[in-house]
Symmetry: D3
Subunit: 135 residues, 6 copies
């Protein structure tokens, strides 16, 4: 179903094995989801993608881990990325997203899509008050 | 700069005035931003849009008001809506978004855009484990 | 295949049942399509979505019902929403869209996608004559 | 403001002049909007684009000319093409689109954007009943 | 799985047969992929689409045939077109795209998606130096 | 015009200065375009963005530098990123893109947008022959 074919024994490549080991250690789980299995066709791409996903999504920071997943869902749904909507909704639920929070997330992102459409179709001029760099 | 022209005295229409009064009361501010001035060319559209923006964005709920604005920014940037990116970034700052939080928001939504692109270009099959409705 | 799981007996919830009954009455059909079955995980979201779909799509207005469905298809295809393309193409056919009209719809929306791409890649400046609010 | 620069005397090129003459004759107007002035940097691109715009948008067919413009607006707004939203809204008004029709168009396309977002975020499975090619 | 149903004997229509014959001759292959089988429900749409695909993608020109396929993949992935990502990745491989080139393509298009998101979320003003038509 | 405001003396921050110095050295030019001036509000975001742009776009690799810029333009135009379309078209011209190549790029990316729209509106099923990981 993909445009690449994962090798039979992906972890025979030490660079792939190192990334997969780090994914397992970081997530405290043996499960490696398909995104990483398919990215592994190119170890450099796998490494740079995981490096940044780990740094941004799996490292404590100002934003709450659940909020980060919700932001990821918001972008992924807007881009129509089926895989990412699925993986990050599952991640958000694993981090405690309730049904009520899920529904509220959907309300907000569908409202945003609607008013984005209105603002664009009307070509509403930006209020000068919104410019952060106005002199 | 727009596809419609706001009337000279928008609030002469009592339906428009009622919405504008509610915007001012809800936000405790006299400032009515362009989105509402331009939507007012059709009072029905103005009323239904404000009704839902108020219900979802200006009513206390499970999600923090700042998180809601960040989600709105995430969708608006992904959709390329210049007006909405400006208005909701200003709103997020008014609700306390720090520069660090702003930068973190940008890191997450640009990471999501990048991995969305990868997942779509690879056509990664969705892991069965992610289906909430699998039997 | 979804990110939520519809309850076994959705209509045990009176709010869900009321919406489903109204869908059946409005459409004069017993068929409830998946969109509503899946939205029902949150009765508030179900109610507000159906309220607006009914008001805009199932209420007589200036635009012809078939034209409305075609506009819905145009947006849904552009957004890459597989579900919505399917459901609204089926609805358009049920409202009488011929194969010739379907083909013409496809010609127009694919031409628009093409010239959108050209105008954006060229960054063509908007002609002042097009501004409705020019002074 | 663009990525190309129109030549000072575009119509010195007979291929450009032929297209511009046909635009003027087809539209019964001397006004050539910027899209064509900027596309003229490459006569082949200008010719093939105009050939198809004329065949699809300026030739009588099953769909009403105003409906065609509305479909064009629907795609252009969804794609965020500022130029195209402006030019086709102006064209729709020139073909008689009333303020009420404009508002109804906006209601439909913003509703579609909203339910597209919901269907994608929920990953609603397509009902088998919608497949035109089911056996 | 589609919104149209290909006829049982598509090539009974001489216009369809002529296009299919030309596809086979141009590609030196008997394989007609689904895109053409489904477009054939309307011979005019089939003819105009194939005419332009052939002229642009299957005719020698300045750009290398493999580069053309990569550009097609870049747009198709960004638009989230699953069918097109699949068909043009297969075409690029048939034209010699190596795994290394495929990975590099993915690196570039995912980087572009990421910085597009940043530029839009920041609403970075365009440098005057970039305008080709500045006076 | 932006959602952030560059500091008056950006290079007073040694991390920002280090990135700017590297941009100047890599490009052999004193010009720092707005993207970097605005990203500098957060040195971490500036550093990680420049690190990857440099590694992917400014380091010799399998793909030709001009091809890389064209791929960047293809994604940026499809995403509707005005800033990125401008900056990468200027970069492509600096790397030798002729008017003919520019026009050919536009022909391909607008054809792709058109057939993406058709494939999505038709929901054409992917040919099994295109799956790289079919068994």
């Amino acid at each position: 179903m993909s445009t690449v074919k994962p090798a039979a024994d992906l972890e025979a490549d030490p660079r792939v094995k190192a990334v997969f080991d780090d994914i397992r250690a970081t997530r405290k789980s043996d499960f490696i989801n398909n995104m990483w299995l398919y990215l592994a066709f190119d170890p450099t791409l796998l490494e740079s993608t995981w490096r940044d996903v780990k740094a941004i999504m799996a490292t404590p920071s100002e934003l709450d881990p659940l909020v980060k997943e919700m932001l990821y869902i918001a972008v992924s749904a807007t881009n129509g990325c089926s895989y990412c909507v699925h993986s990050h909704t599952a991640a958000a639920k694993a981090k405690g997203m309730s049904e009520t929070q899920h529904a509220e997330l959907l309300s907000i992102i569908s409202l945003a899509a609607r008013t984005n459409q209105l603002a664009t179709a009307l070509q509403v001029p930006v209020d000068a008050a919104f410019y952060a760099d106005r002199s």
